[in-house]
């Protein structure tokens, strides 16, 4: 009951935020006109059309792809975070924290710098997926012992992986031309400024597929919380669940990273807040984290591009400023609960 209410509430909030975000910017368009423009495109003659000069253009060429990309990216990040915590059995696991995002970013940056085009519009996301998958697998294998991941090992592995990825990214920057350099730098900070319908066409389907498939594993992820042995004795094919989970995490993370760069902590903060409201059951947690992540990122992007006149704050910087201290608090709490770690 509580879960259904939360999901309904988050959906409502997401829709409102999208209308608000699409209407805000240098050309202000009231939400009713945004809605009217949308309905007219869908063939429903209801609501007012944008009255501002270039309003219709601003909406359909610039704002809508950006808002949709923000929502898709946020959903991918939120869902990937919740999924990763479930698969690792560790509430501190998050693609950004343990280096999967930067691993995927190396793949994406390589495509930009080296000018690879093998898969057309899907090249960036394709190589990001390959690198993200390899990184997730590496972290998973390295940080496990006796069927679970220890917090300390996980975080230390994350530091090592992040160090290597950052070095590789640095190398790619060193190799790149001035134009590519600027593109990569702004992308590295995390930004949705380059949003186009083309990027939406890649990210949105991947996110939707990833989230839907992930929700199908909800029941098994609940059982995995009991530990691998007990989950196995309740009929879960643990090896298979684990592998599918890692593929999904890599898929969602690469979808999120490919066009918007590294945006950390969304996958950590959102699932944690959801758990505080409805408990840890994955049947609510996964969809609610996707919705919550989408809403959060649409709101964060709105702040990032409207807080300063004629300038944009990097989105990734904004989420890290808020997410970093939250992570610190979570870390201290976990430490206090487990009685400290050496």
């Amino acid at each position: 009951m509580r879960g259904a209410a939360l999901i309904a509430g988050l959906t409502g909030a997401l829709v409102l935020l999208c209308l608000l975000a699409a209407g805000s910017g240098q050309v202000d368009i009231p939400p009713s006109e945004v809605l009217g423009s949308l309905l007219h495109r869908l063939g429903i003659d209801a609501g007012p059309l944008p009255t501002a000069a270039q309003g219709e253009n601003a909406l359909w060429v610039v704002r809508f792809p950006r808002v949709v990309l923000a929502a898709a990216t946020g959903a991918a990040l939120g869902c990937a975070g919740a999924l990763m915590q479930g698969v690792f059995g560790n509430p501190l696991a998050e693609p950004g924290v343990i280096g999967v995002s930067s691993g995927a970013a190396v793949g994406a940056a390589a495509v930009i710098v080296l000018g690879l085009t093998g898969l057309g519009g899907w090249t960036v996301v394709g190589l990001a997926f390959v690198c993200g998958f390899a990184t997730t697998l590496l972290v998973y294998v390295v940080s496990r012992s006796n069927g679970r991941t220890e917090v300390v090992t996980l975080l230390l592995t994350g530091i090592a992986v992040n160090a290597v990825s950052t070095a590789l990214l640095g190398l790619l920057l060193f190799m790149s031309s001035n134009d590519a350099l600027r593109a990569i730098t702004s992308w590295q900070l995390g930004s949705l400024a380059g949003a186009t319908w083309d990027s939406v066409a890649v990210v949105a389907p991947l996110t939707v597929v990833g989230c839907v498939v992930a929700c199908g594993y909800a029941r098994k992820l609940d059982l995995l919380a009991l530990g691998e042995r007990s989950a196995r004795h309740l009929g879960v094919d643990v090896e298979r669940l684990r592998l599918s989970g890692i593929v999904l995490i890599a898929l969602l993370t690469s979808a999120a990273v490919a066009f918007s760069g590294i945006i950390s902590f969304v996958g950590l903060v959102v699932p944690h807040l959801i758990r505080m409201v409805t408990g840890p059951g994955h049947r609510v947690l996964l969809p609610a984290s996707a919705l919550g992540g989408a809403a959060l990122l649409v709101a964060a992007d709105l702040v990032a591009r409207t807080a300063l006149d004629y300038q944009e704050l990097p989105l990734g910087v904004l989420t890290s400023v808020v997410g970093g201290p939250f992570f610190f608090w979570l870390l201290r709490r976990t430490r206090a609960r487990s009685g400290g770690w050496g």
Binding site: G86, G89, N90, P91, R148, R219, D222, L223, L224, A225, L226, G227, R229, S230, R232, H233, L234, G235, V236, D237, R275, G279, P280, G281, R337
Partner: protein, 268 residues
């Protein structure tokens, strides 16, 4: 689809046998369990006893497939490895020694996880009743809505046991179900075990307390150095000479003045 998948573990109350033949487990060069033969029969409580490091938990874990082993394990007439995870979970339940939980699920949610193997089968209808009975039997109703990690060790152990009981399998394997429990709940656990055996299930439990083993088992298996030292009725197996040798400590066995069950005491 594989026709064996979702093949139910027989009807409620049907009997399933577990046979172990020549089971050995090696860890590095050491042989921890050495050629153990064991029959687990429907309708009986079988306890595994033995000194620390005798291989009791290892034996149980190997029987469950958690550890690599040599030898034969037959469950419901077929090699255990030939069943898929769901089919196995319909036939046998296993209570591990440690009860960790990654997220703070509530007690009732944890117990309900025991019903997972039956999802999508006709026995899904029993879910509510099985959960309620398991929680009643293990005396955890008083904190049904509390978060599992906030419970004491003994309370967590009982919740974990409730989850295993809710699974309602014909074979129930318990690794030290009484380790963290007070005397009342120790007795409660074995009362429940006896009741489940009376329904035709086979219950196997590792215990340290020889008094509990003597009082509640139909058969006792004594393990020493990875080998089966003896297996049979408590009054036949739990004798002073055997126990003194196995535990390397003088032990006396006297009949209880009221019911004649063996009382086992260290010589002090």
């Amino acid at each position: 689809m594989n026709p064996l998948r979702r093949r139910p573990a027989s009807q409620p109350g049907a009997e399933v046998e577990l046979k172990v033949r020549g089971l050995s487990v090696r860890r590095g060069k050491r042989t921890v369990v050495d050629g153990v033969d064991l029959d687990v029969r429907p309708g009986e409580v079988l306890t595994l006893v033995g000194p620390n490091g005798a291989g009791k938990s290892t034996l149980l874990a190997a029987v469950c497939g958690d550890l690599e082993s040599e030898g034969e394990i037959l469950l419901d007439g077929r090699p255990a490895a030939s069943w898929n995870p769901v089919e196995l979970a319909m036939r046998r339940a296993f209570l591990t020694q440690s009860h960790t939980l990654a997220f703070s699920f509530e007690v009732e949610e944890v117990v309900r996880m025991g019903r997972a193997p039956w999802a999508g089968t006709s026995r899904e209808d029993e879910d509510d009743e099985a959960v309620a009975q398991a929680m009643r039997d293990t005396d955890v109703l008083g904190f049904a809505e509390r978060a599992f990690p906030s419970l004491s060790g003994g309370e967590q152990a009982r919740v974990a046991l409730a989850r295993v009981l809710a699974q309602r399998t014909p074979v129930v394997l318990l690794d030290e179900p009484t380790a963290a429990l007070d005397i009342r709940h120790q007795e409660l656990v074995f009362t429940v075990a006896r009741a489940r055996a009376a329904e035709g299930r086979a219950v196997v439990a590792v215990v340290h307390d020889l008094g509990l083993a003597a009082a509640h088992s139909d058969r006792v298996a004594v393990l020493a150095d990875g080998r089966l030292a003896a297996c049979g009725r408590p009054e036949d197996v739990l004798t002073a000479p055997l126990l003194s040798e196995v535990y390397s400590h003088p032990i006396e066995v006297v009949p209880h003045p009221r019911d004649g069950r063996p009382l086992i005491l260290p010589l002090r």
